[in-house]
């Protein structure tokens, strides 16, 4: 896989894989912040399990991105030694946990997207990526189901949980514009059969997400012109702080292995 991949790698192919890896990494990092602090013990374990899935996906994807890049960078070099502007995940991933409603809504919006993404990537022309997709798809099914159930519980539950879920949706929804924004990397990746242009997934995603939000009695906010640009390397202010924490040790002890 390594040798053929390297000879065929285009910058768009690399960036496409890197984006998937960064999305898993940053979402997993945020989820892991819940460990020991969740609303109920059972959910503490569930959140940690999802975080573990994402960290695992990040490891596979970033290792593979390092192979594609061919400059000797491994998963940790890519995870810990890049600057804010070099990360390619959608901004939604890096937004703070705020409360359980934000984490749940975010997890559901991303989880539903991941489910579609991985099922499409199972048919990627890049066999290594297709293998990662096959494994990740199983995990994504559980994430979408678990977070979707919670969206309904919160939306339908009490006045307070409904208010919090709606507030979280109002804040997070505009960031989903970015998931489907046209992007030259996507066009090239789609043309090469590496994976779908994310914009193609918009319709299916809405078809998956809207019925759940409706069942949760939540009001879907109107689309606004708001745009975020994480996929292009222009992030929110939150990412710098996340990275300062996450990268602290490898940067404080350059060259050390752990």
């Amino acid at each position: 896989m390594g040798a053929t991949a390297m000879t065929q790698t285009t910058p768009a192919h690399l960036e496409y894989v890197l984006r998937l890896g960064d999305a898993a990494l940053i979402h997993g990092q945020r989820l892991s912040e819940w460990c020991g602090h969740a609303p109920v013990l059972e959910e503490d374990l569930a959140l940690a399990n999802m975080a573990l899935d994402f960290v695992g996906q990040a490891r596979m994807l970033l290792s593979y991105a390092g192979t594609l890049e061919g400059k000797g960078r491994d998963e940790d070099a890519l995870a810990f030694l890049r600057h804010e502007g070099q990360y390619r995940h959608p901004t939604l991933c890096e937004l703070p946990n705020t409360d359980f409603a934000h984490t749940t809504i975010k997890g559901f919006l991303l989880g539903s997207f991941n489910l579609l993404m991985w099922s499409r990537l199972c048919g990627s022309s890049d066999k290594a990526l297709a293998a990662i997709a096959a494994k990740s798809l199983k995990e994504a099914r559980y994430h979408a189901e678990h977070t979707g159930d919670w969206v309904i519980r919160l939306g339908d539950g009490t006045d307070e949980s409904h208010r919090r879920a709606q507030a979280a949706l109002d804040i997070l929804w505009p960031y989903t514009n970015e998931l489907f924004a046209a992007n030259p990397t996507d066009d090239a990746a789609a043309a090469a059969g590496v994976g779908p242009a994310w914009s193609e997934l918009a319709g299916e995603w809405e078809a998956a997400v809207l019925p759940v939000l409706q069942q949760a009695t939540l009001t879907v906010p109107a689309r606004t012109p708001f745009q975020s640009y994480g996929k292009f390397g222009r992030h929110s202010e939150h990412l710098g702080h996340l990275l300062a924490v996450m990268q602290h040790l490898p940067r404080s002890f350059p060259g050390a292995t752990w």
Partner: protein, 334 residues
């Protein structure tokens, strides 16, 4: 069965309830079973003092697992590699799982997890004092795995054979998972010790801070441990504090050598006559200070648990409310 809710079918009354008043004949039968090494199960008659002691011990144990998530959890966001992040996250998650198994075992004795949690949050219930020490550098994570989990395993293995069935079975599950905890800690330290001088300094610093608190984990000297005798009699404690502590020291010296760290005790040396390592006197004032609430992190640890519980109240209520609405809707549709 891990439940106090195991009901006798409606209309049938049990001959005697497990919480029936003290009764000399039942007591004699119970004592005979304990002496024969039999297992006591949730619905069996048991003396009230046995039940109370178990509730206290199992719930303290559960609380310790839950509070124990915090010191190491402090480093999940900062783990220095993705592999170590995954290992640490899985490990801290396991502690949560262990807490869950143990609360379930306590619940078989007729208390609810919420009641036990409230006892913890109000400061009424105790948890292991070791978690009131801070984790100050990444090596603390490794040292906690190696020493703290190592000490915990020594304490816990005998409990797999304790007289109360649900507790013993929970401990079998816990111990099976704990050995990964100790090994991952030691492995993380080995990696650091074969790294740079700066990394080795981190390890030694962490060992210096955690060694004595780890020895204190076995509890007061046998002579100063008033409840031990009764617990031994009941088969919910199998080996004495001092014997376990000695066993731990004897096992750890060699591991420290292999690792290349110095245990912070000038008096630590092999005693040929005893066939054990001698070690210096433990500072019991420090131990009691931390137990009595004056450790560096007592306030922070409890505050973190209170915050998680309070912040989560609306979530727990929402799930109940939704389930009730859903049940009402299903009933209306039927």
């Amino acid at each position: 069965m891990y439940t106090q809710a195991l009901d006798i079918p409606p209309g049938e009354q049990p001959k005697r309830k497990p919480d029936a008043v003290e009764n000399a004949a039942y007591q004699a039968e119970f004592d005979a079973r304990i002496d024969a090494g039999a297992t006591i199960e949730a619905k069996d008659w048991m003396p009230e003092a046995y039940r109370k002691t178990l509730v206290r011990q199992i719930s303290q144990h559960a609380h310790s697992e839950i509070v124990g998530m915090l010191p190491e959890g402090n480093w999940i966001s900062r783990a220095p590699s993705l592999k170590r992040k995954a290992i640490l996250l899985a490990k801290v998650q396991d502690e949560g799982g262990h807490g869950l198994y143990l609360y379930a075992a306590a619940e078989t004795l007729g208390v609810s997890r919420d009641e036990l949690t409230e006892a913890l949050l109000s400061g009424k219930a105790k948890y292991s004092s070791i978690f009131n020490y801070p984790t100050l550098n990444w090596a603390d994570v490794g040292v906690i795995g190696w020493l703290v989990d190592g000490a915990a395993i020594m304490n816990q293995i005998p409990l797999c054979k304790c007289s109360y069935g649900p507790y013993a079975r929970a401990m079998v599950r816990v111990c099976k998972e704990e050995s990964f905890h100790q090994r991952q800690g030691y492995d993380a330290l080995l990696a650091m010790m074969s790294g740079t001088d700066a990394q080795r300094e981190l390890v030694q610093d962490a060992v210096n801070r955690w060694w004595w608190p780890s020895l204190m984990m076995f509890g007061p000297h046998d002579a100063d441990s008033p409840n031990s005798g009764q617990s031994m009699r009941w088969g919910i404690k199998r080996i004495s504090n001092d014997d376990l502590r000695q066993k731990f020291v004897d096992a750890t010296v060699k591991q420290a050598e292999v690792l290349g760290v110095t245990l912070p005790d000038d008096e630590l040396k092999w005693n040929e006559a005893r066939g054990h390592y001698d070690f210096a006197a433990i500072d019991w004032d420090e131990f009691w200070n931390v137990v009595n609430g004056h450790g560096q992190c007592n306030v922070d640890r409890l505050a973190a648990r209170v915050k998680a519980w309070d912040d989560g109240a609306w979530v727990r209520e929402a799930a109940v409310a939704h389930a009730e609405k859903q049940a009402a809707r299903e009933k209306a549709a039927a």
